[in-house]
Amino acid sequence: MIRRYYIIRDANNSPSKDYWHIDYCTANNVEPLIEYKETGEMLVATLDLPCVEKENIEVSSEEYCIRVCAPTTRGICFKKVINLPFATEPQNVAATFKKGVLVLEIPKKIKHFKVEIK
């Protein structure tokens, strides 16, 4: 069982009012560290997945959701559900894994058109 500790702050960000929230996970699942970069055409999500073999990574894509499951060699499993604020084309989601970092390129279904001004 993994215990995850978070610092929760009150609305005024007062350190004196901090308290600790302990999340007792029943499974060895942790969320990976993640960065997002969004353009007009796609969302690029990069996930830090140390101690993970490429062959063991599972990525599934739906129209509004990407799911990643990556068991590590250290007994924990990285799990992340990315809920998309736009529709994607699930079959066109691309994934590459390099140096322990998974890069997901998630294209947007909505295309931008330049409107001609008459």
């Binding site: 995850r4 500790y5 978070y6 610092i7 960000n13 350190p15 004196s16 901090d18 600790w20 942790v30 560290l33 993640i34 960065e35 970069k37 990069t46 830090d48 140390p50 101690c51 590590t72 250290r74 924990i76 390099k98 140096k99 322990g100 970092v101 890069v103």
Partner: protein
């Protein structure tokens, strides 16, 4: 009982050293400073000589090799002193801690203060050997860094804990330098820490072997994941500071 804003440095061993060189590792971009100093004190067998205590610190103790330790500790080997911080430093704590530490460095007649940090780069994944950039408030340190392979910052903007250390050092007349290795913005980066340690080996009388750090990089990233998560949250608060457009 009201909590105090005092920050107290406790010396558990006599620190009788003239003009020490001080190396700081505090969590920020890529946790470069914390990872580098942690590896350095273990690999070079530094002796623990004290710690920092305050009501402002979160209720955290660190366990290393079955020992319970304070999260901000002081180390010494020869004339090198090291400060290792293993908890996120929020803006208020950073302001008070940087002031207190620089006053302590001044009291110890420090010859040079070197702060280790990361410079976030988007394309870090494609960089094999991160470059190290640096700046200092003294011309002599800039020459020393340049001679060790550091690319000196011509224009730029420093924010956060190390900016305060530089500011306080200038006010108290201390010689202070900041080294920044190209790093992942939000992930622990042992590769960047290794690059900065190689530069330190050239700059001062150190001989840190980074082979083990690079071999165990994946394990190091797992170990530092939670600290990185909390540090990212703390840095987001600092980023609310508006940076002048000319530096963007």
């Amino acid at each position: 009982m009201a909590l105090s804003d005092d920050i107290i440095i406790i010396e558990t061993k006599d620190i009788d050293v003239e003009n020490p060189i001080i190396i700081e590792g505090v969590p920020d971009v890529g946790l470069v400073g914390s990872i580098a100093v942690s590896h350095m004190v273990i690999e070079q067998k530094f002796e623990e000589i004290g710690y920092v205590t305050s009501d402002l610190l979160p209720p955290v103790m660190v366990v290393h090799e079955k020992k319970v330790l304070n999260p901000i500790r002081l180390f010494r080997k020869g004339r090198i002193l090291a400060v290792l911080c293993e908890i996120p430093v929020d803006p208020k704590l950073g302001t008070l801690l940087s002031r207190k530490l620089v006053e302590w460095y001044k009291a110890k007649n420090a010859e040079l203060v070197i702060s280790l940090s990361g410079a976030p780069v988007e394309e870090r994944i494609n960089i094999e050997e991160p470059a190290v950039f640096g700046t200092s408030n003294r011309e002599e340190s800039l020459k020393r860094m340049e001679g060790s392979g550091v690319q000196i910052l011509e224009e730029g903007f420093l924010s956060g804990f190390y900016a305060l250390v530089l500011k306080n050092s200038m006010e108290l007349g201390l010689n202070s330098a900041v080294l920044l290795a190209q790093s992942y913005p939000s992930y622990p980066d042992p590769g960047a820490a290794a690059s900065i340690l190689k530069i330190l080996n050239k700059m001062i009388e150190l001989d840190v072997d980074v082979k083990a750090l690079l071999e165990q990089a994946e394990d190091v990233k797992i170990n530092y994941r939670t600290l990185m998560e909390q540090t990212n949250a703390s840095m987001q608060k600092e980023n609310k500071v508006e940076v002048p457009t000319m530096y963007r």
